[in-house]
Amino acid sequence: MNTLNAKIDRRDGKLVMAHFYVAFIALAVGGLAGLLQTLVRSGKFQLPAGIGYYQILTVHGVVLGLVLTTFFIMGFQIAATSRTSGTLSNLQRKLGWIGFWVMTAGTLMAATMILLNKASVLYTFYAPLQAHFIYYLGLTLVVVGSWLDGAAVLGKYINWRKQNPGQPSPLITFMAVVNTMLWIVATIGVAATVLFQLLPWSLGLVDRVDVLISRTLFWYFGHPLVYFWLLPAYMAWYVVIPKVIGAKIFSDSLARLSFILFLLFSIPVGFHHQLMEPGIDPAWKFLQVVLTFLVVIPSLMTAFSLFATFESFGRSKGATGLFGWFKKLPWGDARFTVPFIGMLSFIPAGAGGLVNASHQLNQVVHNTIWVTGHFHLTLATAVVLTFFGISYWLVPHLTGRVLTKAMNKLAIYQGVLWAIGMTFMSGAMHAAGLLGAPRRSSFSEYGGAAQATEWIPYQIAQAVGGTILFIAIILMLYIFVNLAFFAPKGEEEFPIGEISDHAEKTPMVFENWKLWLGITVLLILFAYTIPFIDMIQNAPIGSKGYKLW
C-alpha cells in the first residue's frame, strides 16, 4: 500500500481543520437543541421566550444531519486522500478553500433564517411547508461547496492514477472517490427540486408546487445521503481500525467490492421512504424495496470482514476457543473502543432498517418515533462515534499534538456515556414508536387519550437518555478543544492499515468508472423513469405554500 505522506502537509491540514471547527460548533449547537427537545417532550419543561419546538427541531436536524456530517466528511476525505495519494496541488487546495467558504456562507444563511423563525420546515423541507427562499439558497450553497471539495479529491485521484498507471489506487483514496461520486449523483436530485421547484415557489415566481415530485426528488437524494454519512465510517472500520489494533486488512478486494455495491444499490431505492405515499404504483415500490434489500449484501460483507480482522488478530496473539479473540482487542485504546461501540450499535440499527424497508412492516413504524430511534443508532451512534474516534487521532495529527493518556481515558468515558445515554433514548424511542407515538411532535396529551398516556413514561426515559448524551457531547467538545489547541506537542500517527498477506491481488476492474457509473445510471433510470412519467402525466394542480409554525 502506498503510504506517500506519513504526515499530512500542513497546508492541507489547515483546510481539514477549518472543516472540523465548523463541524464541532455544529455539534455544540445541535446537541443543545437535542437536549431541549427531549426535555420538552417529557412534558416537564417549556421553551422560554416564545421559541417554538419545530424551530429547535429544525436547528437540530440541519446542524447535525446536514452541517456536522457534510463538513466532517469533506474534511476527513480530503485528509485521507492527502495522506495516501499525496499532497493536494495548489489548485486543488484552493478549490477546497472556496468549497469550504461557500459551504460556510450557505450554513450561515440557512441558520439565520431558522433563528429568525422564517424556516421552521425541518431539515427535510417537505413542500408544501414553505420557508424563506434564503433558507433554500443557503442549503444549495452547502451542496455546491461540497462539490468543490469533492472536485479536489477527484482531482488528486486522477493525478495519482496518471502517475501510477496500471496500479490500483490506495484503498482509502478509492473509498473517498466512491463516496464523492455517490454524493454528486445523489445531490443532483435535491438540487433539482430546490432550483426548479422550491426556490421559484418561495420567491413567489410560481404559486404552486407539485408535492409528490418534490418529495420524490428529495428521497432520490435522501437515501444515498445516509450512505454518504456511513461510508466514511466504513473507511475507518476497513482501513484505520486494523492498523490501530495492530492487525491487517482482511481483503482489499472485498472492501472495494462492498463500496462499489453501495454505490450501485443506494440510489435507486428512495421509494422505501415513500411506501405510505399515494401516487406511486406499488409495483415500483416493490422493485425499489428489492433493490434496497440488496444492500444487505455489502453490509454483511462488511460485518464478516470486520469480525474476521478481529478474530485473526486475536488468534495471532494466542487467543483460543470460539470467542477468545474478543478479549485480546485493545479495549484501553479510545481510537479503537469508541468506533467499536459504533459498530456494535449498527447491529440493532441494521435490524431496525430491515423492518423499516419492508412495505408491510413500514405501516407499523412509519412516522413514529421508532424511526428517530433508528437513525440515532445509525447516524447518531455508529457514524458519529466513529467520527469522534477518528478525531481522537486526526485532530492531533493535524495540529502537531498528541492524545495524552488522560484524554484517551476521557475519550473512552465519552464513548461509554454515549452508549448508555443512547440505550435509554433510542431504546425508549423504539418502544414508544411500536406503541404508536409520532415523531416530529411536541409534547401533547392528545386530549387525554389513553394511548397517548402510555407514551409518557418512554418520553421521560428519552429525556434521561438525552441528558446523559448531552454530557457526552460536552466531554467530546472538551477533548476536541484540547486536541486542537492545548494538548502537548508531538507526533500522532494517521493509521493506515496494510493488506493481509493472505489476500488476493486486487483486480483493476474496480477502477473502471465508466462501468460502475454506467450501471449506476442504468439502475436509476430503470427504477425512476416510468414512475416519474406517471407523476408528471397525472399531476394534480399543485399546492400553495403553508407556514404552519
Partner: protein, 49 residues
C-alpha cells in the same frame, strides 16, 4: 501424561491460528438477531392489520 499434554497443545495451535470459526459463529448470531427482530415486528403487524 506430559506427552499427551504436549500433543494436545500443538493440535489446538494448528487448528486455531488461522481459524475463522468465531467469525462464522458471529455472523450466524448476527443473522439470527436480524431475523428475530423482523419476525417479532411481523407478528405485531399481523396482530394489528
Amino acid at each position: 501424561m506430559a506427552k499427551t499434554e504436549l500433543n494436545r497443545k500443538t493440535k489446538t495451535e494448528i487448528e486455531d491460528s488461522s481459524s475463522l470459526k468465531g467469525t462464522l459463529a458471529s455472523v450466524f448470531l448476527l443473522g439470527f438477531f436480524l431475523i428475530v427482530t423482523w419476525v417479532s415486528v411481523y407478528f405485531l403487524f399481523l396482530n394489528r392489520f
